[in-house]
């Protein structure tokens, strides 16, 4: 059912664990659905003065696909500027895992959402302007979370 790549990331996930003093945190998903993802970001300025992801860690409660997508998004996001990181789509995650079963596609969405939420929180905290696109993503996630929590 799962590709070799998914199983590899599942068995030996990259960058898992919590982070001390993270710059930003994004948590998505719901216990009732069985998947909760939490991404920790350490954000710093690169040589050209742009915000970039210096370090990233994840903690996930969920199925093999949830753990593998979390692991892959930390690989994809690490070292990228926030602008670049926001361009990571769930299709990129699926591609990096050589595919996901149809019933598990939502896990890749969850991983992309966790990253977007972390960056959204950081922009808000540092009073930076938030693109209308990111605002939309945040609204969608919030609506979904509130619905699930009730």
């Amino acid at each position: 059912m799962y590709t070799q790549k998914v199983l590899e990331h599942f068995r030996t996930p990259h960058n898992f664990g919590s982070m001390k003093n993270p710059t930003a945190v994004g948590q998505v998903g719901n216990l009732a659905c069985g998947d909760v993802m939490k991404l920790y970001l350490k954000i710093a300025k690169n040589k050209t003065g742009q915000d970039f992801i210096e370090d990233v860690k994840f903690e996930t409660l969920g199925c093999a696909a949830a753990i593998a997508t979390s692991s892959v998004i930390t690989d994809l996001a690490k070292g990228k500027t926030l602008t670049e990181a926001l361009k990571i789509k769930n299709e990129d995650i699926i591609k990096a895992l050589d595919d996901l079963p149809a019933v598990k596609i939502h896990c890749s969405l969850l991983a992309a959402d966790a990253l977007a939420e972390a960056i959204y929180g950081y922009y808000q905290k540092t009073h930076q302007s938030i693109s209308s696109e990111l605002e939309k993503v945040h609204q969608r996630i919030t609506v979904c979370q509130t619905r699930l929590n009730h």
Binding site: L31, G34, V36, T60, A66
Partner: protein, 509 residues
């Protein structure tokens, strides 16, 4: 007949070669396998001639397999080294010639169906703890079945000629055997293709045959998917379904059952031993309640048949489902007990087999296997009940002791002797299942049938578990071939596995 030293050494040396990354010299292997290098050289020369080995020269020179080990059969290896024969010489025309031919072809068939690669992986540790999903066919059952694939039993049980009548007699003797086990009349047993088919026949068959009396059917909230889905489908046909709740142990709420039965209720269908949590219902009392109110009572005994005594002469059960592949019989055979006089419409119409209740050519070898399997299980009941319930309780006690935030699902005493279902907080079942699989341990989350669905088990939710608790549950089911050392291996691996995922989880205790 013995396998010659040549063949045994040849196979050992080849599986050894499989473990090597590069070529191996005869000396290296002879040292490892303690085989004289001269002797091994002769064996390798023969294998090379047969095209199974190749030689490479140079620093890393030596022998290696010339083909993918998945494509080399044991038959090829043994034929290259010796010619094991059972066949009479060509000129011979003795009475037993066909017997020897059969042995020879069976012998070759086994050897040609196993590859070198399988031989190697079969030695890897594998612990099967998913007997509730399906069981291996007991070797004694298989031996009983094999002759029935033969020409002499090829007849259709409905044919009038001798071969048809022989086949028919065999099926009738199987019916008698089940009738004796369940203490009913042989004509009340019909053979079907699966427990799913039996259950579908009951729900749809009773519904359509009794709709003039009423359109109300009662099931429980912890039925197998085939009962749930049949019931759901019946609602599209104008029938009304009520689901009776269970308590936290999975026991049916009998007061609720009494209150729910109405004048237009035609059927109550309640699972006997639950497939997920193992809880065994009191079918004596449920049957009495239904009987007092004149409602048919069906019980799905797929998991409990032969694992707990069922004497239908003392129970008010009108219909009962039992399955072959849960009790070391072949897949594709099951039965349905229909008490004489029960009004039921068949699902399958046709040649009128099985007293008209189930048209379809009778699957003779599978039914023979099912019968033998049931006979063995009944004969071994005391012994297996004792062995497996002890192992079950040992496993439950030790898991709960060594793993924090774990709890048993189902009833502590009224449960199938081979079922263990435990919830672990802060982890998710599928990841546990896959990680255990890497250790060679096969278990299940909920039931195997729902492994493609994302929903938490409806059975666990019905016992009052929160969705996240239901998500973190595993079912371990033991069986005839389970050993104490396998259970100990699980007990060693499981805490590590749970711990790994609790570390990854964002929720800490």
């Amino acid at each position: 007949m013995n396998l010659s030293t040549k063949s045994r050494y040849g196979l050992r040396a080849l599986t050894n070669l499989l473990d090597q990354d590069c070529c191996c010299s005869v000396k290296q292997i002879s040292k490892k396998e303690h085989i004289s290098s001269d002797y091994l050289e002769k064996i390798f020369a023969k294998l090379k001639k047969a095209g199974l080995l190749k030689v490479e020269r140079g620093a890393c020179g030596g022998y290696s397999l010339s083909r993918d080990p998945k494509k080399i059969t044991l038959g090829e290896v043994i034929n290259a080294l010796e010619k094991p024969e059972f066949i009479c010489p060509d000129f011979c025309d003795c009475q037993s010639k066909s017997v020897w031919q059969k042995i020879q072809s069976g012998f070759s068939h086994v050897l040609n169906s196993i590859t070198l690669d399988q031989l190697k992986t079969s030695n890897n540790k594998s612990v099967y703890l998913d007997y509730a999903a399906s069981t291996p066919v007991d070797p004694e059952v298989l031996n009983t079945m094999l002759p029935y694939f033969d020409f002499s039993f090829c007849g259709n049980t409905m044919s009038l000629h001798q071969m048809g009548s022989v086949a028919s007699q065999v099926v009738e003797s199987c019916r008698v055997s089940f009738a004796n086990i369940l203490k009913v009349k042989p004509q009340e047993i019909i053979f079907t293709g699966s427990a799913t088919e039996s259950n579908n026949t009951v729900l749809k068959g009773i519904a359509f045959a009794n709709k003039s009396k009423g359109k109300h059917i009662i099931i429980s909230s912890i039925e197998h998917d085939c009962v749930l889905s049949s019931a759901k489908w019946l609602t599209t046909q104008g029938f009304e379904i009520s689901q009776i709740s269970v308590d936290k142990f999975g026991l049916l709420n009998l007061d609720e059952l009494k209150k729910t039965i109405r004048p237009d209720t035609i059927l109550v269908s309640i699972i006997h031993g639950n497939n997920e949590i193992g809880t065994i219902q009191d079918i004596q009392r449920i049957g009495q309640i239904c009987h007092d109110r004149g409602v048919y009572f069906h019980t799905d005994a797929s998991q409990s048949f032969t694992k707990t005594p069922i004497d239908l002469s003392k129970l008010n059960v009108d219909l009962l489902t039992a399955s072959s592949h849960k009790i070391y019989g072949p897949k594709g055979a099951a039965l349905l007990y229909i008490k004489a006089g029960t009004k039921i419409t068949p699902l399958l119409h046709g040649g009128g087999h099985e007293f008209g209740f189930r048209s379809s050519t009778v699957n003779l070898p599978a039914i023979i296997g099912f019968t033998k399997a049931a006979e063995i299980s009944v004969k071994n009941f005391d012994q297996e009940n004792k062995k497996l319930s002890e192992l079950r309780d040992y496993l439950i006690k030790n898991i709960l002791k060594t793993i924090s935030e774990s709890r048993l699902n189902g009833h502590p005493q009224k449960r199938l002797y081979n079922n263990i279902n435990i919830s672990f907080d802060r982890v998710e079942g599928e990841s546990l299942l896959l990680e255990l699989d890497f250790y060679g341990i096969a278990v299940s989350t909920g039931s195997a049938c729902s492994s493609s669905s994302l929903e938490p088990s409806h059975v666990l939710l019905a016992t009052g578990l929160r969705p996240e608790q239901a998500h973190g549950s595993l079912r371990f089911s033991l069986g005839r071939f389970t050993t104490k050392s396998e259970v100990d291996y699980l007990l060693k691996v499981l805490p590590q596995v749970i711990n790994k995922f609790r570390q990854i989880s964002p929720f800490k205790s």
